[in-house]
């Protein structure tokens, strides 16, 4: 595929990166040279094939939501372990953060109800650093029957990834 054009020019043309005057010259050549037109067509076909199969591969590798949330909970645990004081929150802040974390997965209404019930059972005297674990365990108990074991475990890990201060 030369015919008076460099490989660099063919590359620029096929990638749409060629200036207008060079492009017209090359287009004029393509109109009369079946050999170059066929070779350029093959390049375009391969662009299309790679795009299609690349997209197919991407879709096939999509991560199920439950795996993604499990990975997130693990990641938050690692961050909490690595930066123990960086994100320490007061009780109200911690509850708001937990609702924000779990709401997109379980639904805001479901999380509100589960948190309220877990507060009643796990931390009747209010949330503080000491009662947070009991509250988290109760939250797991609330979510598990409706959403399954993995979901309950996710809620527990998400809660335990938040560090709570006594204020």
């Amino acid at each position: 595929m030369q015919h008076g054009f460099t490989e660099q020019e063919w590359m620029e043309f096929s990638e749409g990166a060629m200036g207008a005057s060079s492009r017209s010259r090359l287009e004029a050549h393509l109109a009369v040279c079946a050999e170059c037109a066929a070779k350029l067509d093959a390049i375009r076909v391969w662009h299309q094939r790679l795009s299609t199969e690349g997209e197919r591969l991407r879709v096939a590798m999509e991560l199920p939501e439950i795996d993604r949330e499990r990975m997130l909970a693990q990641s938050l645990e690692r961050i909490a372990a690595e930066y123990p004081s960086a994100e320490r929150r007061g009780p109200a802040e911690a509850l708001a953060a937990l609702r924000a974390l779990l709401g997109p997965v379980f639904g805001a209404g479901m999380i509100r109800a589960a948190v309220d019930a877990a507060l009643e059972r796990g931390a009747p005297g209010g949330i503080n650093a000491a009662s947070w674990s009991a509250f988290a365990a109760e939250l797991r108990e609330m979510i598990q029957p409706a959403c399954g074991l993995a979901a309950g475990f996710l809620a527990l890990r998400a809660a335990m990834s938040l560090a709570v201060a006594d204020r």
Binding site: E12, W46, R58, A60, L63, L72
Partner: protein, 174 residues
């Protein structure tokens, strides 16, 4: 694949204030793409998950150094690539491109990857990585150049020469 508005907003919020909430939003959007990056390079699901966790931890740790949200995507894949190269050096597992053929498919498409793996065998390492960043991760040329530390023209050239090689090896037809 350019960031959609949701991704852009999540990244901007995270860079402005890296908290558990903003990090979680970024994680939900991008960790699956990082995991797919490793799966597409032959890692099994468990290994891909381990490496993705390493990448996302670096993202959290180092995000304060990055100010420009437009630079986030190449930065993310540059970290992914570095983590993979470190893993290669540890030599505990060295996936090969042919293993894509054994990849499980979570979307019920067991043939996804077979065709791609077959094609990739006729390319050299540099071409293969460039093609995958372009067509699997969906990066633009300037982003590929940033990830691989090469000029944009080199990235374009690798893609062009790869397509020529593929056409020569597999022809024009199906």
């Amino acid at each position: 694949m350019a960031f959609n508005p949701n991704e852009e907003e999540a990244v901007a919020l995270f860079l402005a204030r890296p908290t558990v909430e903003t990090y979680s939003a970024v994680f939900r959007l991008l960790a699956p793409r990082v995991q797919a990056y490793f799966r597409a390079r032959g890692y099994d699901a468990a290994a891909a998950e381990d490496l993705s966790q390493e990448v996302m931890l670096v993202v959290y740790r180092e995000s304060r150094r990055l100010r420009e949200k437009g630079a986030f995507q190449p930065w993310l894949f540059k970290i992914s690539r570095n983590v993979m190269l470190q893993d290669y050096r540890r030599a505990t597992r060295r996936p090969q491109i042919v293993e894509i053929t054994e990849m499980e498919s979570s979307a019920g498409d067991p043939l996804a990857g077979l065709q791609f793996a077959q094609w990739m065998k006729c390319l050299n390492d540099d071409e293969r990585e460039t093609v995958m960043l372009r067509y699997v991760e969906g990066l633009e040329y300037h982003e590929i150049a940033e990830v691989l530390g090469i000029p944009i023209g080199t990235a374009q050239w690798r893609i062009f020469s790869s397509k020529k090689k593929l056409a020569a090896s597999f022809g024009h037809g199906v």
